[in-house]
Amino acid sequence: MVELKNVSVTYESTGVEALSDVSLKVEDGEFAFVIGRSGAGKSTLIKLLLKELDANSGEVYVNGYSLTNMKKRKIPEFRRTIGVVFQDYRLIDTLTVYENIAFVLRVIDAPRKLIRKRVPYVMSLVGLQDKADCYPSELSGGEQQRCALARALVNDPALLIADEPTGNVDPELAYELVELLQGINACGTTILMVTHAHEMVRHFGGRIINISEGEVVFDEVIGGAEVEAE
């Protein structure tokens, strides 16, 4: 579960108020799109949820952790409950696909047996079973994004945050990726997907949170293209 209560964030260096008195709640098992124009505050929201940034005021709760006064040594433990897919993939160039995905499990001291079982499973889930020994530079943009998704999923996180996951892939692949995320959501993972692909959001429908100039200006569930067609 994700909950923000009257959260405001102002960047000290520029004095820009990135989030202003934002309150929202995403329940366990939900799938929500976070939309908004560049500079609206979407990235700030993600940084806040990953504890890469602290709010100036208000309270933030993620997966049962209160991020407001979280001690530094608790941060790694907290981050292990979240899977993140970044727009620029953020894969480690010197590790193979298999190693990039397995890395998350090694971080949590997972047994070798589990790593050997779990990594091939998530690779097959995203269709990368034949690319295990490839390095990120040898993959296409879509494959890198799927590798990043597999890495985010491998430790079975309660919350998956996808930051513009379709930003660097062609439209067809983008739709496939959202369908994949919907399938993962159907298994119980809460998903928060940040995007500015409004067309695609309208197509899939669901909960839409629109952020504009640091405020939540729209937060409702809308029907997708299939619902409208019916």
Partner: protein
């Protein structure tokens, strides 16, 4: 940390040396040069000290006794000298021995010495060596105060020169060693920081998936240790080659041994300590330099997130 994780991280450290070979090579070179700078400075100092020490060892004072000193009294004076604070060795130099030595040195005038045999004008004496040459004056003064001692002979000006030389060499060598250490630390710190900075993306990814600081730092520690170890090994080999070549070269000039250069310490006598010092210092500087730079980077990142 589980054994499997430990093995994984050690493996990562080794892999990273190859994967980041350009930066690893830069760190290796900087460490090698730093170790050589400091190592050569230390060896220079140690050898200068050995040369001076060798010259000092040849120094002795001679305590001449009065002509009519009884054998009993001569023995007592010997005991007194042995009990003196700064005296490291005492040997009796009898008037007969002195006479024969002088005769040997002046063989052209052997007839004169033969005529004097029954009336040897030389006194009995003691040869003493001192432990601390800088306190030679005090020791001589104390010896002169012993009853029945006629006078004490010692190369005063030479001792002063040696003491002064040692003092100047110590100051210069210490300054060089400290300067080299500072320069080395600055270069090493900057190189490892550059190495860590070039991998900031990797570090940020590790953090975003929940890696602890120690998990991030450990491969850097291993990587730095490997670089440092290799630098230590190469520094040992280069020093060995350079040192031996220099000793062989100096050995060709026999005249140099007369000014004490014969006292240069042979490499085989010090190779073990040189090797251990290079390898241990290299490994520790490499490992902790890397960890310190990673630590600074993580702190900086945390403060600027």
């Amino acid at each position: 940390m589980k054994l499997s994780s430990f093995q994984y991280l050690v493996g990562q450290g080794f892999d990273n040396v190859w994967k980041n070979r350009v930066m690893a090579f830069a760190s290796f070179c900087v460490l090698l040069v730093s170790l050589l700078l400091v190592g050569i400075s230390v060896l220079f100092y140690v050898n200068v000290n050995a040369i001076i020490g060798g010259i000092e060892d040849k120094n002795e004072a001679i305590i001449y006794l009065l002509d009519d000193t009884t054998q009993e009294r001569v023995a007592e004076i010997g005991d007194t000298l042995e009990m003196m604070d700064n005296v490291s060795s005492v040997s009796f130099y009898s008037r007969e021995e002195a006479f024969n030595d002088l005769k040997g040195k002046m063989s052209d005038s052997a007839e004169i010495f033969d005529s004097l045999r029954d009336d040897n004008p030389l006194p009995d004496a003691y040869r003493i060596r001192v432990a601390d040459i800088s306190r030679m004056d005090d020791t001589i003064a104390a010896a002169e105060r012993i009853p029945d001692v006629e006078y004490v002979s010692s190369p005063d000006s030479f001792i002063e020169l040696l003491t002064e030389t040692r003092r100047v060499v110590t100051i210069i060598a210490s300054a060089i060693i400290i300067a080299m250490l500072i320069v080395s630390m600055v270069i090493i710190s900057n190189t490892t920081r550059a190495s860590v900075f070039s991998r900031r993306r990797e570090i940020s990814i590790m953090q975003s998936v929940g890696a602890t600081k120690s998990f991030i730092r450990f491969p850097f520690f291993i990587e730095g240790m490997i670089n440092g170890f290799m630098a230590g090994v190469f520094a040992t080999l280069l020093t060995w080659f350079g040192y031996d070549s220099l000793v062989k070269l100096l050995g060709k000039f026999s005249v140099l041994s007369t000014i004490g250069l014969g006292n240069i310490i042979p490499y085989k006598r010090i190779y073990l300590i040189v090797m251990l010092a290079y390898i241990i210092a290299g490994s520790l500087i490499g490992a902790f330099g890397s960890v310190l730079s990673t630590r600074v980077h993580l702190k900086y990142r945390a403060a600027n997130m």
